[in-house]
Every structure is written in structure tokens, then in C-alpha cells.
């Protein structure tokens, strides 16, 4: 396999040097990708030169990952041209992309946890028909090339250790070696630092530079500004499926990048919605939800919220923005009593909860399929999760079926849920209408507090507008709403006050002033203002 690999490399590099003079290594032109009514990529151009570290920057939902999935052969674009070394290329599958020298290191590693490192690497070596070889199978032999690659990077990977026993940083190395072993010359890293400790990030950056100096080209999907400034040569910024800018990193700075990334935050007309910030509520009023010094751990025991405090008054929407994975789900679950808090205090109108007589809390979870619906139960039944527990809908042990059906019927019409009947399974409805079920259920129970997490993710504009109207109406009826969203425009459109959640803490910002650079810096994890590591 080694000899074959060398030949391949020689061919590639000669082709590359021939083309290098005129054409960039990669040219993507007018790439369009739509999902239903949603346009994920709107005629995006993207160019990468050979031998550079090119950062791709943008908020959640900007289209970074979609664009890179197209390049890695995982997704097919609806329109657009892709050229490699000046020649048009078609990448219908990840296999073909690999053959062309493109490999992706995914954010969620594509490794088999129960297999050893050698087995994982052997699985991926293309030129070893292991299936038909007689005698015992030796994965470390099949993966020899990969291990040599690792050694050349100065990594000593333990052959027979199971992947499940490795630290996340080492797992990432296995994933990188897997990509390099296929002689990939263009490596895509999907938010590689998201899962790493700061020391591991340092080591990763050293490795990225070494790979670049060894002739590889690297695309780095990122949203942390400091990291881009530290390691990238050039940066391209995407916003809402459009390419906003592309520039050498040396000619830019953190505030500039932040402005590009967030654009004109605070123009809710974008959503077709006029905000109502009329009554600035009194935050010190006793009619409020107060959270003090909240500390909560994640699923693996790591601390995700570190002494977080917030207030949301009656009749107020408190928006919490920020990039996914900064403790959003944990905060929502702690507020709704689904996750135990380690320390801190949560109170409603001065009284601590969770308790027996605590406030009624409605929860619009972020993943309606996983947490909000029983998919094969009927639309009607899905609307009644709370109602069946209320006295007026029961006679002795039995449910009042007629009253419940009438209630479901009225909710279907009040919330404009498009269904032919309440007796069809909820799974038959579109995503937007499924979300309306969840919203209808929460609002019907007239809760004191609503915790809504990305309530309009994946919805079309009509459904989005509807959900926003409903949340605003609930606010006007006196509900305290905590809106956790990765969409800053959504927060700008709805929230009376807002903060960004990064690193387990909240930093408040003025939602009306819409200083986009400031917000961008917050999003990028720069909490001290305009400081940049450069």
C-alpha cells in the first residue's frame, strides 16, 4: 500500500504544481442548497489556495457545514460549479471526494467506540481487501500506513486501545490520522476545537501549521474569533447562506470579523416582524423569575454552567443568545426541573423552586421529535399531555373523552395546526405543524414561566411568524419567558432584554442598541471587548 500511495502522491503533487500557477486549489462557484422552503446556501462562492489554512466563519445556521458537506461529497448541491485545480469536478459521494484527495474531520467523530485504534484505522484503508485474505486478520498490519503517518506527526497512538477509552483529544488525532492515511491533500476540520481543552487546542494548532508546511491545505470551520486570528491564513465569512467577505487574516481584526459574522443585528424587519420594546420592565420587581449563582453539570459530569444569574420579570421576554454547546440545553433543563442543579438558587416571586407549590413552567424543548412528541399517537393525544392530568377533564379514574376531544379541536383551530383530523398520527404532520402542537400544549396550560429553546428552528417563515406572535401574546398576558436561541435575529425580534451565553456564563447586551461588533465578539468568546490576541 505504501508504494501505491507514493505513486498517487507524486501524481497528485505534479498535477497540483502544474495547476498552482494559475488556478486556486479549490473553487466553488454559485453553490445553492435548499431544504424545502429553507435556503441553506444562496449562490455561495468559495475559493481556497493550495497550502493555506483557510477559516470558514459564521454563526450557527450560516451554512458553513452544509457547504463543507458538499465539498466532502456528503451532500449534493442544487446548483453551482466545483473546480479542483482548475478542472470541474463532481463529488457524488464521500468515496469520490476521498479519491480526489478531500477528507473531512467531523465534529462528531466517525469512529467505532468498541473497536481498537488499529481496527478503526484498518477499516478505512482503501487498498487492503482484508475480507478475502486467508489466515488471521491483523488490523495493525492493515493500518500500518496510518500508523506511519501518525509517527511522522510525532504521535504515538496505542494500537490496541479501544477508542471508547481515549480522551476526546486523542480520538480527534485518530480521526485526523484516518483522513491523512488516504493521502488527502485537502483537509476539512469541522469545529475541531469545540470538544478540546485549551491545551489540546494549542497542540492542534501546532499540528495544523505542521500539516500546512508539509503541503496540505486546510479548511477550518470555526466561530471563535481568537482561534481564527491565531491560526488561519485567510478567512471567508458566511452569514445566512451568503458569502459576506473573504480576506487575509493579517488584514483583518476581531471587531471586523464580528461585524461580518453578525451583520446588522437588531433589524427585526428581516423577520417580517415589528418588535415591541415599549414597556421597559422593572427588573427589580418582585414578580419575577430570579436565578442566582446557578451551577449545573452536563451529562458527563463536566461543569457547564458556572455561577449563572438571570432575571426575567412577569411580562418580559429574556433572550439568551450564543453558539450551541455553551450550556443552553443544561440551562433549559435546570429551569424546567429536568436536571438537578448543583448549587445556586431559583425563585419565582421570591419563593424558591422546584417545590410542591412552585410556578407552572411550560417548556418548548429544542428537539420536538425527541422530547416533545409521541409520534405515533394522534395529533389530539399529543395536544393533551397536560390536560389529561387536570381535574376538570377526569370523571373518577376515567378521562372525559368528549371534553378532551373538544379541547383538542379548539387548539387545532386556535393554533392553526394544519391537519385533516385530530385522529391521525402526529408523525404525519410537517415539522412546523408538529412544533405548533408543542407550542399549543404549552400555552394552553397558561404557565407562569415559559422556557423556549430554539422554538422556530427548521420552520418556514409563516410558522416562525406564528410562533413568535404566540410567544409575544403570552408575554403580554404576563408570562415570564426565557427564550434561548442561537438565532440572534429571533432574539432581537422578541426579547425585551438579552444576554449571550458563553462558557457557562451570561453577558448582558443592549438588544436595542444592536452593536453588532460587540455581539459578535461576545459570540466569539471574547468577553473583554475589543481585545484580540494579535
Amino acid at each position: 500500500m505504501k508504494a501505491g500511495g507514493d505513486v498517487e502522491t507524486d501524481q497528485e503533487s505534479s498535477r497540483r504544481s502544474a495547476a498552482e500557477s494559475s488556478d486556486p486549489l479549490l473553487q466553488m462557484q454559485g453553490i445553492v442548497k435548499r431544504y424545502g422552503a429553507t435556503t441553506a446556501l444562496n449562490a455561495v462562492d468559495f475559493e481556497v489556495d493550495a497550502g493555506e489554512i483557510h477559516a470558514l466563519l459564521g454563526e450557527n445556521g450560516a451554512g458553513k457545514t452544509t457547504l463543507m458537506h458538499i465539498l466532502a461529497g456528503l451532500t449534493r448541491p442544487d446548483a453551482g460549479v466545483l473546480c479542483l485545480r482548475g478542472e470541474p469536478a463532481v463529488l457524488p459521494s464521500p468515496q469520490e471526494a476521498r479519491r480526489q484527495g478531500i477528507a473531512m474531520v467531523h465534529q462528531h467523530f466517525m469512529l467505532v467506540p468498541a473497536f481498537t485504534i488499529a481496527e478503526n484505522l484498518a477499516m478505512d484503508t482503501p487498498r487492503s481487501p482484508v475480507m478475502f485474505r486467508p489466515g488471521p486478520y491483523r488490523p495493525e498490519q492493515a493500518a500500518q500506513g496510518a500508523f506511519e503517518k501518525a509517527a511522522s506527526l510525532g504521535w504515538n497512538l496505542p494500537t490496541n486501545t479501544r477508542v471508547s477509552e481515549l480522551s476526546v483529544g486523542t480520538q480527534q488525532r485518530v480521526e485526523i490520522v484516518k483522513a491523512l492515511a488516504t493521502e488527502a491533500r485537502l483537509l476539512i476540520f469541522d469545529e475541531p476545537t469545540a470538544v478540546l481543552t485549551s491545551r489540546e487546542i494549542e497542540e492542534l494548532f501546532v499540528m495544523l501549521r505542521r500539516l500546512r508546511d508539509g503541503g496540505s491545505t486546510i479548511i477550518l470551520i470555526a466561530h471563535k474569533l481568537a482561534e481564527i486570528l491565531a491560526v488561519a491564513d485567510r478567512v471567508t465569512v458566511l452569514r445566512r447562506g451568503n458569502r459576506v467577505a473573504s480576506a487575509p487574516v493579517a488584514e483583518t481584526n476581531a471587531p471586523q470579523l464580528a461585524t461580518w459574522m453578525t451583520g446588522t443585528v437588531g433589524t427585526p424587519s428581516v423577520m417580517g416582524i415589528t418588535p415591541s420594546h415599549a414597556a421597559a420592565p422593572n427588573t427589580s420587581s418582585p414578580n419575577s423569575l430570579t436565578v442566582e449563582e446557578l451551577t449545573v453539570s452536563g451529562d458527563r459530569g463536566e461543569q457547564v454552567l458556572r455561577g449563572l444569574s438571570l432575571t426575567a420579570s412577569k411580562g418580559e421576554i429574556f433572550g439568551i443568545g450564543g453558539v450551541d454547546g455553551n450550556g443552553q440545553s443544561e440551562l433549559a433543563e435546570a429551569l424546567t426541573g429536568l436536571r438537578r442543579i448543583q448549587s445556586g438558587r431559583m425563585a419565582w416571586k421570591g419563593e424558591a423552586f422546584p417545590s410542591a407549590s412552585g410556578p407552572r413552567i411550560g417548556y418548548i424543548p429544542q428537539d420536538r421529535r425527541r422530547m416533545g412528541l409521541a409520534p405515533t399517537m394522534t395529533v389530539g393525544e399529543n395536544l393533551l399531555f397536560d390536560a389529561v392530568r387536570e381535574k376538570p377533564f377526569r370523571r373518577g379514574p376515567f378521562l372525559k373523552k368528549k371534553a378532551l376531544r373538544t379541547l383538542a379541536e379548539s387548539l387545532i383551530s386556535a393554533f392553526d395546526i394544519r391537519t385533516s383530523s385530530q385522529d391521525i398520527p402526529a408523525s404525519a404532520l410537517s415539522g412546523g405543524n408538529q412544533q405548533k402542537i408543542v407550542v399549543a400544549r404549552v400555552l394552553r396550560s397558561a404557565p407562569d414561566i415559559i422556557v423556549a429553546m430554539n422554538p422556530t428552528r427548521g420552520l418556514d417563515i409563516g410558522a416562525t411568524r406564528f410562533v413568535h406572535q404566540q410567544l409575544r401574546a403570552a408575554r403580554d398576558r404576563g408570562t415570564a419567558i426565557v427564550l434561548i436561541s442561537t438565532d440572534l435575529d429571533e432574539i432581537a425580534a422578541l426579547a425585551d432584554r438579552a444576554a449571550i451565553l458563553t462558557g457557562g456564563r451570561l453577558t448582558e447586551y443592549d438588544v436595542q442598541a444592536s452593536d453588532s461588533a460587540q455581539i459578535g465578539l461576545l459570540l466569539g468568546g471574547v468577553t473583554t471587548g475589543g481585545d484580540s490576541p494579535h
Partner: protein
């Protein structure tokens, strides 16, 4: 730079998440719907009979004679009367019905219990033990207590698996199968030990006095003065069909149970007490199986519990019975009747034709295959329509 108004998601949303222009239609009850349902049922039956005849041909049994023999075994004929055969069919149906209702409850709750067999055995065992040590109680009261204790014992046996699931995340598929073996050997050990009948002639417990056993329901003169087997336990078992149906579909508990079975995460998010309900569902499922055990015991001729082979595997057969019935109580009733009739029919067939008794399993398998095949075909067809 023009702004895009649409909200976007970073990762590709699932295709079904995208709003579709056409509304799904409801399979509402209508005349056409009923006709269609009947046609489907007729197709099932036809397919089953064809498969059956094919099996007979392969086994070199004359198919029409064999079919007739099956039928008269299950439902009798004009010569020997219909009542004796049909009451035997109902007797066969009873333990299958109760255990499959147990399966309906646990599987609807998302708990894949295979523990009916063990729960049935501990039910019969508890009743037998009570009968031995509670002899000074009046007969009707003791019978009642035996029934209650069997339900309680089966319920505890099931709850144990539920508790292990909640506390230690032990998968109930494994734990219930293991508990079946524990129950089986517990019965052998106790029946050959403290519960052994006093003559030591047979490996079984003491015969029960007639006063404790279920009374036969049908008068002798209805069937040429011969005693039919139908006993009080049969209607008792059938009562649980509407009871479980009401519980599942008309109470808060049943509603929560179904939500949990569909999506435990959603149930937890909606603040249903998932852990508690898991134990409760397993207990209820076990109690139904325990009842199957005691009804079988009290409906038998002597009421003695053998050290082994008390059940021909009702607790296991219950799973295909319940699945064939679409995991609904009414479905379980018809499915159990079907399996009961098959068992009786095969018994008759093996008596009068030279065929092995294991033929019954072959025939049952044919029935399951017919339905599974028809459903798969139906699913593929409707899948094509949807595209």
C-alpha cells in the same frame, strides 16, 4: 448584501421536517373503510388457509381432510356436538389471553417483557402454597385469596424486572427471560420439596379439594350428559379485555403509559413519572400473567401443580399472540381465540391422522407468517403510494 428572511439550520433537516403541501388523510371509519377492513381480514384468512394446505401437501397429509379435522377439533361437528369442542378451545384460549394482555400492557409501555412464563409459574406457585398452608379458611374465601396472591406474586415478579430497569438500567428483555428460569426451578424445587404431595407417587403438589376448584359452567344436559370443560375462570379472564382496554385508552395512567412507550424522553419532558410508571407497568403485566397461572390451576381437574411442564410455553406464545393482535386488548382476544382454536384443532388432527403433535407449532408459525407477510406487503404498497 441582501438578507435572507428564512430561518436556517446548520445541519440538514430531515426531509420529513420540511412542510409538505399535501395534508395527510385520516383512516376514518366509513363504509368503504369497513369493507376494506373486511377484505383485508378475508385476505389474511385466505393466505393462511393456502399456506396451511401447502404445508399439509408437503407433509403428505390429504389437505381437505386435514382442514376438516382442524375445524371439528376446534368447533366440533353435528355428530359430537359443538359445545364440548368449543369449550375446550376457550380453555386453551384463556391462559394465552391473559398472558398476551400482559404483553400488551408492558410492550405498550415500551418495556419488552418476555417474562410471562415465569410470572405465570410464580402465580400458580403462590396459590398452591397458600392452599397448603391456609386450609382452615372457608373454601370460597381461600379461592379468592389464591387468585389475589397469584396476581400479587406475578406482579412482584414483573415489578422486580421493572425495578432493575429503573435502578440499574438492566434491559427487561434479558432480566425477564432470566427470571423465567428462576421461576421454573423455584417451582421444581418447592414442589419436589415442601409442597410435594404426601404419597410421593408423582412429582406434583397435593390435589386440591373440589370446593376450591372453579365450578363447571355448562349443565350436562346441554351436551349429551357429558361434562364440558368450560369453567368460571374463563369468563373471569375475558373480563380483563375491557378492563385493560379502558385502562389503556380511557385513563390518565394509560395515556401516560402510551406516551412513555412511544417516547420516554417526551414523557419525561412532560413530567410524567417515568420511573414509577415503568415499575407499575411491569407489575400490572406480571399480575395478569400470574392470574393466568392460578386460573389454569383452579380450572384443572385436580388442581395440583406439577414440578415441571405446567405450562406448554403460554408465556412465550403470548408475544406473537399479542403482536398478531396489534398490541390492543381486543386484538389480543381474537388472536388468542385463533391460537386456542388452532391448538385444539391440531390436537384433534394428530389424534385421527397420522401426524406428529409438533404440527401445531408449524401451523402457528404459518399463521404468524401469513399475517407478517401480509403486513409487510401492505406497508410496502402504502409506502409506494406515499412516494
Amino acid at each position: 448584501m441582501s438578507e435572507r428572511p428564512e430561518p436556517m439550520s446548520e445541519t440538514a433537516p430531515a426531509p420529513a421536517d420540511v412542510d409538505s403541501p399535501t395534508l395527510p388523510t385520516s383512516p376514518k371509519r366509513s363504509f368503504a373503510g369497513i369493507v376494506r377492513g373486511l377484505l383485508v381480514a378475508a385476505a389474511y384468512l385466505l393466505g393462511f388457509v393456502l399456506l396451511l394446505m401447502l404445508t399439509f401437501v408437503v407433509l403428505r397429509i390429504p389437505p381437505l381432510v386435514a382442514l376438516h379435522s382442524l375445524w371439528t377439533g376446534a368447533f366440533g361437528d353435528a355428530r359430537s356436538g359443538h359445545l364440548p369442542a368449543f369449550s375446550d378451545t376457550l380453555i386453551e384460549t384463556t391462559p394465552l389471553l391473559l398472558t398476551s394482555l400482559g404483553v400488551v400492557v408492558s410492550w405498550r409501555a415500551g418495556l419488552f417483557s418476555i417474562g410471562g412464563e415465569g410470572q405465570l409459574l410464580v402465580g400458580a406457585l403462590a396459590a398452591t402454597a397458600l392452599a397448603k398452608y391456609g386450609t382452615n379458611l372457608p373454601a370460597p374465601l381461600l379461592t379468592l385469596l389464591m387468585i389475589v396472591s397469584a396476581g400479587a406474586a406475578g406482579g412482584l415478579w414483573g415489578a422486580l424486572a421493572g425495578w432493575l430497569r429503573v435502578r440499574r438500567n438492566v434491559q427487561e428483555v434479558i432480566s425477564t427471560i432470566m427470571l423465567n428460569y428462576v421461576a421454573k426451578f423455584l417451582v421444581s424445587w418447592l414442589v419436589l420439596g415442601v409442597l410435594q404431595e404426601h404419597t410421593y407417587h408423582n412429582p406434583q403438589s397435593e390435589s386440591l379439594p373440589n370446593a376450591l376448584l372453579f365450578t363447571r359452567l355448562l349443565p350436562r344436559q346441554w351436551s349429551d350428559n357429558s361434562q364440558t370443560s368450560l369453567h368460571l375462570g374463563v369468563p373471569l379472564a375475558f373480563v380483563f379485555v375491557p378492563v385493560i382496554a379502558l385502562l389503556l385508552f380511557r385513563t390518565k395512567f394509560g395515556f401516560a403509559l402510551r406516551v412513555m412507550g412511544q417516547n420516554p424522553d417526551a414523557a419525561r419532558t412532560a413530567k410524567f413519572p417515568v420511573d414509577r410508571m415503568r415499575v407499575q407497568a411491569m407489575a400490572l403485566s406480571g399480575a395478569l400473567c400470574g392470574l393466568a397461572g392460578v386460573i389454569e390451576l383452579l380450572g384443572s381437574a385436580t388442581g395440583s401443580l406439577p414440578a415441571s411442564a405446567f405450562s406448554p410455553g403460554w408465556g412465550y406464545t403470548a408475544v406473537p399472540v399479542a403482536l398478531l393482535g396489534g398490541l390492543t386488548p381486543m386484538g389480543a382476544l381474537f388472536s388468542a381465540l385463533f391460537f386456542g382454536a388452532l391448538t385444539q384443532g391440531c390436537r384433534n388432527l394428530s389424534q385421527f391422522q397420522d401426524v406428529p403433535t409438533v404440527l401445531i407449532y408449524l401451523v402457528q408459525a404459518m399463521a404468524v407468517l401469513a399475517v407478517v407477510g401480509a403486513r409487510a406487503w401492505n406497508a410496502r404498497r402504502t409506502g409506494k403510494e406515499a412516494e
